[in-house]
Structure formats: C-alpha cells, structure tokens
Symmetry: D2
Subunit: 295 residues, 4 copies
C-alpha cells in the first residue's frame, strides 16, 4: 500500500521502517533532517511538509507526534493534513493525547469525509523496533478492520476499543492504573524490606497473592528481584518517569473534563512531578522507589 | 497430634474443624459458648480458659484472634498461655496483627524456651472452610518445617517468609498493595467508562496490558465484568471494606514504626476510612468504586 | 468615562451597575436577554455583540466571563473584541481563568497595540453588589494606575500583582491555599470534636495558636462556632463547593504547566471533586466537613 | 510551693528553672546526670528516681517526657510515680502524647485518688526559656484553677480545654492543621513564584485574603518574606520537621482510634516522613518548601 507517515521520532522512525520492511511504499515527513535521511536511506520518499505528504497518492496516513498541540497543528493547521488530503485516505493518529482532542480532530476529519482512527501504542521503543507494539484503536469498526493489516506490520496486539477517542481512553486508563500500582509496588516492597524481609521472597509471596500486578511480576521496582527489569540495571532505559508523568497528566486532565474523581491517580501524578522536580525524570519510572528511601 | 486452638470466630472455627477432620485431637477455647458448642459437637475437647488449653498434653497451640490487644492478653496475661504452657509445645499465632507485636510476643516465648511462629492467613472464610487458605509464616525455619503438616490440614499454600514477624510483614505488605491497586482499578474503570468505554472491553485491554492486577482480573470492581466477583453480586460477601481498613491501619502503623513513607498506602487507608464513615464498611472492599460515582 | 462591559452574570451585573452608579456611561452585552434588560433599565446602552461593544466610543472595556474558553472566544474570535476595538481602549478581563490563557490574550492585545490587564476578583456576589470586591491585577504598572479609579467604583482593595497574568496567579495561589486550609480546618475540627472537645473551645484555642487561618477564624466549617458563617446557616449561600472545585482545577492545571508539584492542592481538588460527584457541589465549600462525618 | 519535676530535656530544664525563679522549691529527676547538675546548681533538690520525687513533701508533680511509652513507665511502672505519691499531690503531665494514653493514665491516677491534668505546651524551647509557653490543659476544672498559678510561672496562655485528655486533643488538632497549612503555604508560594510572582507581593496578597494563615503571616516558608522566620535563616532553629512528623503521627493515630478520616492530615504525615527519610528531619518544618523545588 501507499502510506504517508508524519513524525519520525524514537517511536515513529522504527514504526515507519517496519512498514517499509513489510513492503509498503512510505512517504515521510519530520522537522528533523537526520530522521528523514535515515528513512530515505531505507527506501522512503521524502516530502517537504505534512500537506505534501497528504497530497501524495496514498491510502493511509499515519501520524506519531509528541502532544495534542502538535496533532492539532499537523491536522488542522493552515498547511495541515485535512486541508490537503483526499477523501479516500484513511487517517490514523498514533500519538498519545487526551481523548477530547482526539475526538475533536476525528470529528473535523469526519465532517469533510475522512475516516479517522486514534491508535495510541504501548510497548516503548523496544516494541516499536521489534514490531511488537500494542495498538489501542478507537473509531468506526469497519474502518478499524481496513487498518488492521497495516497496523500488524508494526504491532502484535491490535485491539479495538470502540468509537472515536476510545483508543486514547483505554491508554490513559491503563497507564493511570500502571502509575498507581507501580508506586504501590514500590511502597509495599520498601515497607516489607525495611521491616526485615528478603525482597525476592516478598515478591514471590505477592506474586502468588492478591497484591500481584504487572509492576511486581514483570517490572519489580526493587533491584535484583526481576533480572530483566530496569531496577536491576540501574533504572536505565525502560519507560522514563517523565513519560509516566505525561500520561498521568493526561489522565487527571481527562478526569477533570469528565468530572470524575481519580484520587490516587492525582496523587500518583503529584508524586511523579515531585520526583521529576527533584531531578529524576530521566530514570525509568520504577525508580520512584528511590523517592521513598534514604540515599 | 494433640492440638490446642484458641479463638473460634468466623475464621478460627472452620480452621479447627479442619484439624478435627484431619484426625487431630483438638482442645478448644472461646469466649462465646455457641462457638465452643459447635466444635464440641464435632469432637473437640472444651477447656475453660487459654491457660487450661495451654496446660493440656498438646504438641501445638494455635491462636486466631481479632487484634494485637487480644494476642497480648491471651499469651502474656496473668492467666495466659505463656504462664501455663510446657516448653515442648510449638506456638502458632494465625491472627493478623502488626509485626512489632508479633515479634515481641515471639521474643517472650523464646525467652522461656517456647518456639513460636506467626502465621497469618489469606483466603477469607471461604478458604477457611474449604481448607485452602494461604499461610504466611515467620519464625525459625526448622520449626516451620515441623508445623507445615498441621498447617496443610487448613491451607493449600504454606509459605515460609523468614524470621519472626515476617509472616505479618508479608501479609501487611501484600494487603496494602491490594488496597492501593483496588482503588486504582476502581478509578481507572470509572474513568474509562465515564469517558465512553464499555467496561468489559476496558477490563480486557487492561488485563492484557501493564495495568493488569488481581483487582482487575479476578475481582474487578465494575459490576458485570467478572461474574464471580462481589461487584456482580451487589458487593455482598467477600472481603469487607472494614477488614481492608483494619489491614491498611496495620500497614500505616508498621510504616510509622519503621520510619518509611507509604504515601499511597496512607491515602488508601484514609479513603477506606471515609468510605466506612459514610456508612459502607460492611460492603465488599471493591465497593469503593461507588465512592467515586454519583448515586 | 465611557465603558464597555461584556458578561452580565451573577458577578458582572452588579459590577456594571456600580459603574453606572458612579456616573460612568456603560455599553453592555450578554447572551441572556434578561440580564441585558436589567442593565438597560438602570441606564446602560445595549449592544448586539462583543464586537459592537468594542466598536463604541469607549475608554475602557471590561469582561467578566465564566471560563478561559469564553475569554478566548470573546477576545480572539472572528467577531471578537480585538478585531473591532480601537488602539486607545484599555482592556480589563476580570474573569477567573488560568494564567497562561490570560498571558496569551494579553500578548495578542499588546501585539496590536492594546494595553490589557487581568483583574480577577474575590469577595463573591455579596462583594460585587456592595462594591467591596478585591481586585488582583496583572499587567503594566502605568496602565494599572489608569485603571485604578474605575476599579475602585467596583471594589475596595485594588492590588497590583506585577506583569501580565499575575492577577490570575495571585488568585489561583490564594484560592488553592484556601481550599487546602478549609479541608484542614474541617478535619481538625471534626477530629477534635470526635475525641470529645467542645467545638467552640477548640476553635478558640486554634485561633490563638499556630493552626489559625481564615477558615477557622472567619468561616469555621463547624456549625455554631461562627454565627455569620455558612456552617451556621445550613451551608447555604457563600462560595459554592463547585466554584472551589473550579479554582482548584485552575491551580492544578497551572502547576502542571509550570512543572511544579502541588501535592495537597491536587488532593484538595480530588476531595472537592468526590464531594461534588456525591451530589454536594451546590453547598458552600465549608460543607466539606460533612464529607468526613457519619450522616 | 513544693514541686516535683521529672524530665529535664530541652523543654523540661528551662521550665523547671522558671519554677525556681518564681520561688518554688523543686525536686528534680532525669536520666542524664548533666541535666540534673544544671538544675541543682540553680537550687533544685536532686532525687534518685521518679518514685523518690513522688515520695517527697510536694504539692504538685510535673512531668515532661518524650513520648507515651515514657509517660506510662514513669507513672505506671513498678517504681513509678503512682506507686509512691501521696493522695494530696496534684499530677500534671506536660508531655505531648496521644489523648488515649493521657486518659488511661489519668483514669488510673483518679482510681487511687490522685487528681491529674494533661497540659501539653506550644511555644518551643524559646517559649520555655522565656516563660511564655501556651499550656493546653485537660482535666477537672477546679483542679485546673489550682494548677493555674504554677503554670503561669512557666507560660503566658493557660487554656482550659475540658475533661481529661482534652489538652492533648487540642494540641494534636491544632498541630495537624498547622502541618497541613504549612505544606499548603509552601505549595502556594512555590506555585506563585514559579509562575512569575514576587514572593513578598504574593505573601502580602494572601495575608489580606482568604488564604491567610499563621504559616503565611508569621512563619512564611519562602526565604526573605518574613525576616524573623526560620526560612530567612537557612531553616535553622525553630520547630524541627521531625517534631512535626511526631505530632502528625499522633494525630493520625488518634484519628484511627476515633475512626474518623483525616485525609490531608495523613498526606501531610506522609510528606513529612518522605522529607525526613530523604535526610531533612533536622531542618525547621517550614523547609518542606524545598521538597517541592529543584535544587
């Protein structure tokens, strides 16, 4: 297929490369020349602007951008995608943004006849490179079925979440719970060890009990408990604390808009903000356990 | 074996019955006559006080009491167990209490030559009846091995947690994390549904993602998502909010004694206290989701 | 002077009336016909749109709107104020909005040559009627001095807070602290009374000690302690819980934008959200004390 | 009068010295020899144990001890005060402890015919030296009137709080609110300054508005705003963060016993615990503002 791809950052670049590997023709755009050159070297066509990408003979246009403000600009700006794209082109935004903005942009696309999906991912840069991302997809179900084969070139789990914006809702709800349970895991591990337990024995008990969660089983924040976890590698790599802070910011914002309480969600957001303010935003998000211990 | 059993409440009574079923001879004591009669009818020997139980020809003495204050009184009181028990008797306290008290009592037992284990359980009254409890056991490992066959008559998972008090540490750490992740699950489910998602789809996504935890998979707080969960039965039965409040109280107390922070743990304790003060302490603890929604 | 006034709600209407009483000529606009009629009856000139107000021979234009979205639309919209107003007109926005939006609008006004002040108020509808509001004003100091006499027709304390947006910053910081200390006062009064103290004696001690604050002295949340406080009148009137919720929303949003933590501020926002979700948003904000007690 | 005084620490020693200055005869005891020598040099009579102090010809016995565990031991221990003291002696405990323990000890004193008051103080070591402490007194009112002249030798405000334990209740409620409003003040000041306001202007506005509290007016946590505050002297001296942590610990414990929620109180306790764990417990408690800012 002919695909447009806008946004070649740490996530977007390997995703676009996987599309090329799968045999698609890909038109790319990014503000950074270096990113464009890498894709060009791998066989992509360089375009000079989002509007130029949108103006090519393409079937699908995918965007992977840092935040809602960029999504709005790229889609709705004067030289943006909506102004230049043909009606038959299926639009997919894989950026992680708030559900409200996702729905606004999708509504404007629909108003001019373009089908659009929100399809944020989880799995990090490792998953982007390996083509094993999870896509959480919101929009019309028939449109989702059309997009699925292309998404499968970049990911392993392609999950339909319901109407427009629901991909973002699913991601925001999951990641809020992740942030809460990671802090909870950190507090529980730190408490147990401070009271004299061996961390591996404690993790073993929790993981066969009602406290078990992804954060204790797969990604335990206590060093040495899970060998492959960032905690056992000095909290390098992984999913940065500042990215978790961004997602918790989206969650609390979405809750505000929906007028529902997220008491622990907001507490988690504040703890990650404090942790980041104290200079630790670059560490893996499981490093929050250091926040609670003497240095 | 000859076993003494003190404390025949909702948990203790079925545990003692399982010991009888396994062929042990059991001497029992409780303040409530009705509880004693039930056990007597099943073949137990009635005794008139903790000291009298302790004074029988027994190999093991097990206690299952509501709180630390009762444990102290039964073991250390003037007419208590320690004053009357023979040196060869192995003491096992299955009450859920703070680790510090567990260690104090164990130290006093050790000082007079009695081996003692703390062995709190999880699994609720259902597990007590079915004999499928999990025992988290602290104390000397050789002593643990001696106790194991007897505990297996009442439970399925018998886990060694390390030195004296560590059974309580494991339970308190696990249940604090459980309380936190249940509130997190409630907030995430409520947020997602408020933003337009189907609860079953949302739970499905979380359960295959990084937000997954026992509270979303097995015990989802949103009605209708997990058929066997209390949420699907009007939040009746299960593990009462006031019991979770008690365990979170133990966790925050233990953290205070250890001088470590448990920020979300304390927030969870306060939310359950508020929920209970508003009149909901008798509901299953997953009913905390109602706290966040309009009625 | 000739003054334009846009936004004639519970606050705006009495403010505009006070301008008329002070002898100013006032051109008004509001979406609600009834509000316009009241002002017209008092001598104001009715105009058909924000742009028409802006197009009159006026010296100063004042806006009093519900939220940032309305401020943006009224000033920056296609038929908005900036498109129609003369360069010599001094713009004053008295709406309570986030500092960032206030600065964006002021910057656009400045770019086309219009001086602009942000001047949110405190004092409620009572203060608006009595002309005793406090104005917290951000913008150029010389411009502030020009505006002062007009603001004095509507308020008693006219406080200069520094550059553009600082009026909003002052209000948001003050009201966040107010929300926190009101909940703190509610918890402290409720705790003390639950432990057996007379509420008036407890308040007396706090008010001569280090815990004293406006919320204990002037506006005590415990019924009967301060006769003139909403707590002594069934929590009717006063400053609604939903308005406090709005201000705490602005504070946490501003903190997010500034990347600084407001841990108790966010907790207060969530508690008011929960209180509101449970159906109490219409009560005075001191009614939060009911949240913590049995009903 | 003849007075016994047990506990000659940073608070107790200057309090006992003030009793000597006022012309009373004072019998003293402390575990530390140096403390006893200082008082002896000033004219006090040294005694060898709490029981020996209690056995002298005294009218009043005052204790000033670090925590509930010491109060219990000194009063209720085998060689304790109650076992040795005459019925006519009025007992006054000025330690800051939980209300429950205060009531238990007072009840045991009453049971053997001794009147007892709980009389915790505020004002710090400076107030103890200057004789300007505030005494919050619980117990029988007639007994309080007898004690008042003696307390006035050590303090300026002698406040009657109601029945036994109410002095502790008042202190715990006041100091919990103080801890909450100090963190609130820190967050509000830090937020406002981060958003571009001058700290002195911001404090000025808050102090004439609804956010005002002792923590913004007298003890502002932002350096340079109040010259006499610890914040303007590198957070040295004052009321240590670890002492605030102790008082918040008492408040959350008392709330647990009373089964009432203190959501922000518990959050404040946790924030001070985290601050202390990070190595800052020795700083004045207003230094919590550093917790929220980059260093």
């Amino acid at each position: 297929m002919n695909i447009g791809f806008i946004g070649l950052g740490n996530m977007g670049a390997p995703m676009a490369l996987n599309l090329l590997k799968a045999g698609h023709k890909v038109h790319v755009y990014d503000l950074l020349e270096a990113a464009v050159q890498t894709l060009e070297a791998a066989g992509a066509q360089r375009q000079a602007s989002p509007a130029q990408v949108a103006g090519q003979e393409i079937d699908i246009l995918i965007t992977m951008l840092p935040a809602a403000v960029h999504v709005k600009k790229v889609y709705l700006g004067e030289e943006g995608v909506l102004a230049a794209v043909g009606k038959h082109v299926l639009l997919i935004d894989s950026s992680t943004i708030d559900p409200q903005t996702a729905r606004e942009v999708a509504a404007q696309a629909a108003a001019q006849g373009n089908a659009m999906l929100d399809a944020p991912v989880s799995g990090g840069t490792g998953g982007a490179q390996a083509g094993t991302l999870t896509f959480m997809v919101g929009g019309d179900e028939a449109v989702f079925e059309k997009a699925r084969p292309v998404l499968q070139a970049m990911g392993k789990n392609i999950v339909y979440c319901g109407g427009a914006g629901n991909g973002q809702v699913a991601k925001v709800a999951n990641n809020m719970l992740l942030g809460i349970s990671m802090i909870g895991a950190a507090e529980a591990m730190n408490l147990g060890v401070s009271l004299g337990m061996d961390p591996t024995i404690l993790a073993g008990i929790i993981n066969t009990s009602s406290g078990r969660c992804w954060s204790t089983e797969v990604y335990n924040p206590y060093p040495g408990v899970v060998e492959t976890a960032p905690a056992s590698k000095g909290y390098a790599g992984g999913f940065g604390a500042d990215l978790m802070l961004k997602d918790l910011g989206l969650a609390t914002e979405a809750a505000k808009a929906a007028k529902v309480p997220v008491v622990l969600g907001a507490a988690a957001q504040q703890l990650y903000q404090t942790f980041s303010t104290q200079g630790n935003g670059h560490l893996d998000f499981s490093a929050i356990i250091k926040f609670f211990s003497t240095k």
